[in-house]
């Protein structure tokens, strides 16, 4: 798929160094990439590749040491209103003292929209993630997969232009994970939202993405920007058994192996 002319999100020469009194750790060395409007881009890398650091910088939760993040032409210096984040730890990212309904509703309260529209957004978002009839339940009464659906519904109801997902399915079982992957594809196509999806799972990145950015070990650089030329209609059974899927998977796998050995792209 061709990259859109106007980038929704730009990451320019991002660098992040954690420093305290005793030592400094260079987490991200030099990362630049763009995400076009409506794209679904996956970021894949070995564990310890600074994926979460990168995502937090993009989300405006962490200040970069140098470089910049630009969202819709505006530099990101704090969490932007046009962005929503789904975190990995579903068990800790929902408010246990609030019902499912109130969890999804909370971020909408400060938006300047009337109460009826808010309720409509909550209802639609819960329906979009196939959660109905659990509005009055507390998150801890639901299974892990359902809790992560609530977190996704909360992000969807917020009507973001960019949806950031930080290994959202790392902690759920394989079957639930497959269902949630399909859900993301469906939501992305229906809502035409831009999605940046971080994962350590190569198969997941190939299955979901239009592009896959392969990250090196920390200090992180981008090894390769891989275009995923699989058909837009994807199903767990057919897509994953395609020859092309295997090739892409193998290619990214070998890149990750190189990354683990400390190999860097020559342009650095």
């Amino acid at each position: 798929m061709v990259r859109a002319a106007t980038p929704m999100l730009e990451v320019n020469r991002l660098r992040k160094i954690y420093a305290d009194s005793s030592r400094t750790v260079e987490a991200i060395r030099d990362v630049s990439f763009g995400v076009g409007q409506g794209e679904l881009v996956c970021i894949v890398g070995p564990s310890g590749a600074g994926k979460t650091t990168l995502l937090k910088c993009i989300a405006g939760l962490l200040a970069p040491s140098s470089g910049e993040i630009v969202l819709e032409g505006q530099p990101v210096i704090e969490p932007p209103p046009a962005m929503a984040v789904v975190f990995q730890e579903y068990g800790r990212s929902l408010f246990p003292w609030m019902t499912v309904h109130d969890n999804v509703m909370l971020p909408l309260k400060h938006k300047k929209i009337d109460a009826g529209r808010r309720e409509e957004l909550v209802r639609d978002a819960l329906a979009a993630v196939d959660l109905k009839g659990v509005e009055a339940a507390y998150p801890w009464q639901l299974s892990g997969g359902m809790q992560q659906r609530v977190a996704i519904a909360r992000a969807v109801a917020y009507e973001p232009h960019v949806l950031l997902m930080d290994e959202p399915f790392a902690a759920v079982d394989a079957q639930t994970r497959a269902d949630l992957e399909d859900l993301i594809r469906v939501l992305w196509r229906r809502l035409r939202v831009t999605v940046l999806f971080v994962t350590h799972d190569i198969d997941e990145s190939v299955y979901l993405g239009q592009r896959v950015l392969v990250m090196s070990h920390a200090p992180t650089v981008i090894m390769e920007d891989v275009a995923i030329d699989l058909p837009d209609e994807r199903t767990q059974l057919e897509t994953r058994s395609m020859a092309r899927f295997g090739e892409l998977r193998k290619h990214i796998y070998s890149q990750i192996q190189l990354a683990k050995q400390g190999w860097r792209p020559p342009t650095e």
């Binding site: 969490p79 962005m83 909370l106 507390y138 801890w140 009464q141």
Partner: protein, 262 residues
Amino acid sequence: MNAAVPSLFRRIAVMLALPVALIATWWFASADSQNFYFPPLRTILQTFSKLWFSSQATQNVVPSLVRFSIGYLAAGLLGIAIGIPVGASRNLRNVLEPVLEFLRAVPPPVLVPVLILFTGLGNEMKALVIVFGCIWPVLLNTVAGVRALDEVLAEVVRSYRIRPFARFWHFILPGASPQIFTGLRQSLSIGLILMVVSEMYAAKDGIGFALVQYQRTFAIPEMWSGIIVLGIIGIGLSLIFRAFEAWILGWYHGLRQSQRAS
């Protein structure tokens, strides 16, 4: 038959067994007592019903409970109001910690004579003594609760740009509430003790005042009955507290149960 019914009976039986046994022992052991200081329980209970179901109740119990309620609630509110900013700010903690440690180490009853100088013998003094004793468990537990707030939830709050008031009301306060309730529970018994102590020093009514009067006039059954009244008030307050806690912290007990089950 439903298995839950006998088990409920059993639980109540287990709960009441020891108190009933103790009361029975007291009753029979003291039945023929000629000892002036340990009158028969029968006499004490007769005095009890005569004394505390009469004007005594309004004269002495009501003022005590009013002082306790005002002091305890003020301590709770102040403890939370101070504890939240202190828990949220490391700088504030560093500045305040030595002072707080010192104030906490001062036994509240020694303040009674001091407070009499400033506020007189009235209810203000007694409420202030209770505030001074009850505030520390609430304050320190609130600080600990705010410090232990979940980092992931804090990031959720930031990334969704939740406004300061909603952040306080929907995140900080409920997040710290299990710890806050731990502090409030500890303060409950401290408050009762200080209520009685402050009334023993200088007062013209209250349960503590009545106890001292009975003791000085050698009205021994009356004195014992006053102690029983205090015990009953303690149980009553603790039951009210538990009901309130179960209502506010229902989510927390459910969460804990679901975590244990998995």
